[in-house]
């Protein structure tokens, strides 16, 4: 793996990790944007260089697809969630797990991923050498999803998990990208629609208070 790719993946992993600790919805949306921007930037730059050096139609298509992908995950999805926040509230809260327990769980996630990285490094095919980073970011994102009570933060966690698959996703056929982007935006719109409706029904953004009894 090239150094620049490692740096980009490290930045996005760090942004995901910070997502565990932030308090407000606005902060976590910013982190989502940073994570997505960092993770796709290297691929975007490669495509730009290919376009500038080759000046071919194929390069232009490649660049356009990568740019659309990068823009959708770094700008469009965060903006949809931000719109949800505007319609509801910028909630400031803590995760459902205590700092101590959360810390232990995070350390366990990071250590197990490092062990996985060491174990798989000898036989990892070159095309999926970013898998350890993907696994770590994915685990952290699922951790965010599982430990937050603000539904918008949960939705951000879901987006971070989706973004974490980007290094593998970049290998997928070009023709699928519009569909994938459409789906990503669709899921976010559905999520925000449900959250705003639930906010109207329950008058709160804490999913703990959304519980109903028969």
């Amino acid at each position: 793996m090239e150094t620049i790719v490692v740096v980009a993946l490290t930045i996005s992993t760090f942004a995901t990790l910070c997502g565990v600790f932030v308090k407000t919805t606005r902060q976590i949306i910013r982190l989502l944007s940073i994570q997505a921007a960092a993770i796709g930037l290297v691929e975007l730059m490669f495509c730009l260089i290919n376009l500038l050096t080759g000046l071919g139609f194929e390069g232009l298509i490649d660049f356009s697809a990568t740019f659309a992908e990068w823009f959708a995950s770094a700008a469009v999805s965060p903006l949809i969630i931000y719109w949800g926040m505007v319609k509801t509230e910028n909630m400031s809260d803590k995760p459902v797990v205590s700092v101590r327990r959360g810390g232990i769980l995070l350390i366990a996630i990071i250590v197990s991923n490092i062990i996985l990285c060491i174990f798989t490094s000898s036989f990892l095919p070159a095309k999926i050498d970013a898998l350890p980073f993907v696994a770590l970011m994915f685990s952290l994102s699922v951790f965010i999803t599982a430990t937050q009570v603000d539904p918008l933060k949960i939705l951000v966690g879901l987006n971070m998990a989706e973004n974490s698959l980007y290094p593998l996703f970049a290998e997928s056929p070009l023709v699928l990208i519009p569909f994938m982007l459409g789906l990503m935006i669709f899921v976010n719109v559905v999520g925000v629609f449900i959250i705003t409706e639930a906010y109207r029904d329950y008058g709160t953004m804490s999913i703990k208070k959304w519980r109903w009894t028969d």
Partner: protein, 493 residues
């Protein structure tokens, strides 16, 4: 044989759905559309059913080797999926008849509601017909997204919490499916399942990386398992059933056919390439845990929708268990027969209970009773479908259970000898007995005994609401007496 019919069966519901969507900006047509919305949906589902049925003669005539295909889009209809395709289209057709009187409006405007229902149908047919890994992923995610919106359509408070839970669990699980698809694609360079099965170079590349192949298969089982509602990823299902409107629950009965057959489609090719017992263990394990827990958790429920949710988990478990007996030649035939039959019977039960909810406004079985005299047709349809689901002869469920026990016995006889096989059979019969007990008990609690005072004015529902359930009950009797009708579609007659 090259044929546009598989593509047409997707285009028909999709284009009719788009027509509904295009009406959305024309607010002045809203009052007119309200008058024809139900007929428009019914015409969409009936046209789709006709298109789907038009594929059947070709496949029946050609036997196991017959295949209608659009290779450019990896869409194939053959004996492995035509029963599922017909089952889904039939359930949608019957549910849209029920929809005529049962749908009372909700959060979505009528044209959006129709658009999402037809898109839902299109996604499920796409999931069944597509043999491309990325195609399957796209249809899985779209199916989940659309079904979440349909849950939220119910104007009650329950729906939003259920829909959000459903969205998050299934969206995370869809990422597991994507991860599995990407691993296979990166390793092989191909996403077409037929190419993966038939190309020896691709197979070699997969066999050289067994760990990643197993990781991909595990991702498929976890991802689709959560979308289906298998234990331990079932958290959303018992909330979604009471949270959705009565008619949406009817449409949802078609979903497991598409998702469970998609799971088989994703797992079986890789088992053929790398026949590891771990794959069988994962499939059978998921099936067994779901059937045991589903049956045990359904028993104490007071709300009939929650009872049916756990009963569904039990049924999904049976189907996944049957499909997971990968070494047995009977596995796929049994699994498919079981799946299609249980989906049809569950539709009958859910629509019957929907009629009870429609008339009484409650799903709490403690508050119900004595409705048999007032809703005879609904009650009879419910009990016939329930008896069929539990495997009572001469109904279709008996044949499904018979096939399942046969397949399980043969599989376990080879694996662990006669003692293990017999013990496993006793165990499976006990699970069926639990289902039998709680379903008969529910019938007794809802329809028998004294009528509560506030239920005195309850009457039978409209013809459009009891007719679909009666058709499903009749189907159960017909398939019980002539199982070859369904078996010939599966290619096993």
């Amino acid at each position: 044989m090259y044929s546009l019919l598989p593509l047409l069966s997707l285009i028909v519901p999709f284009s009719i759905g788009i027509l509904h969507l295009l009406l959305y900006p024309f607010w002045f047509l809203e009052s007119f559309f309200k008058k024809i919305e139900k007929i428009a949906l019914l015409s969409g589902t009936s046209l789709t059913l006709i298109t789907v049925l038009s594929m059947v003669p070709y496949i029946l005539a050609g036997g196991e080797s017959a295949r209608l295909e659009v290779p450019q889009l990896s869409l194939y209809a053959n004996s492995t999926n035509i029963a599922g395709v017909v089952g889904v289209a039939l359930i949608f057709f019957l549910a849209s008849i029920y929809n005529v009187k049962a749908e009372k409006g909700g959060r979505l405007k009528p044209n959006m509601y129709n658009f999402f229902l037809l898109l839902f149908l299109c996604c499920m047919l796409g999931l069944l017909l597509s043999h491309d890994l990325f195609g399957i992923y796209l249809f899985v995610e779209l199916t989940v997204g659309v079904s979440v919106i349909l849950v939220a359509h119910n104007p009650s408070k329950l729906s939003t919490e259920a829909a959000f839970k459903y969205l998050i669990i299934t969206a995370v699980s869809a990422l597991f499916v994507l991860l599995g698809v990407l691993i296979i694609f990166i390793l092989t360079g191909s996403s077409n399942l037929f190419a993966i099965i038939n190309d020896t170079n691709i197979q070699t590349r997969l066999i050289e990386n067994p760990l990643f192949l197993m990781l991909a298969v595990a991702c498929f089982i976890i991802g689709l398992g959560a979308d289906i509602g298998l234990i331990p990823f079932h958290g959303w299902l018992p909330d979604v059933f009471p949270g959705s409107s009565i008619i949406i629950n009817g449409f949802f009965c078609a979903e497991p056919i598409a998702l469970i057959l998609a799971l088989y489609k994703l797992v079986y090719p890789f088992y053929r390439i790398y026949p590891s017992n771990a794959i069988i263990a994962m499939m059978i394990g998921a099936g067994l845990v779901s059937m045991v827990s589903g049956a045990l958790l359904a028993y104490p429920q007071r709300n009939f929708y929650r009872m049916l949710a756990y009963c569904s988990i039990d049924e999904f478990g049976h189907a996944v268990f049957a499909l997971g007996l990968l070494t047995s030649s009977m596995s796929f035939i049994t699994g498919q027969f079981y799946l299609v039959n249980s989906a049809l019977m569950k539709t009958g039960m859910i629509l019957s209970l929907g009629s009870v909810f429609f008339n009484t406004g409650t799903g709490n079985m403690d508050l119900l009773g004595g409705l048999f005299g007032k809703m005879k047709k609904t009650a009879l349809s419910y009990i016939i479908c329930a008896l069929s689901l539990t495997g009572v002869p001469p109904l279709s469920g008996f044949y499904a259970k018979w096939l399942l026990y046969n397949a399980a016995y043969k599989f376990l006889l080879d694996l662990g000898g006669i003692l293990v096989a017999v013990l496993a059979l006793i165990f499976l019969v006990c699970i069926s007995m639990i289902s039998f007990i709680f379903l008969i008990r529910s019938f007794h609690r809802i329809f028998m005994g004294q009528t509560a005072e506030n239920m005195q004015k309850v009457n039978e529902v409209h013809l459009t609401m009891w007719l679909p359930t009666a058709v499903l009950a009749a189907t159960s009797i017909l398939l019980g007496l002539q199982p070859n009708i369904l078996l010939s579609l599966i290619g096993a007659a």
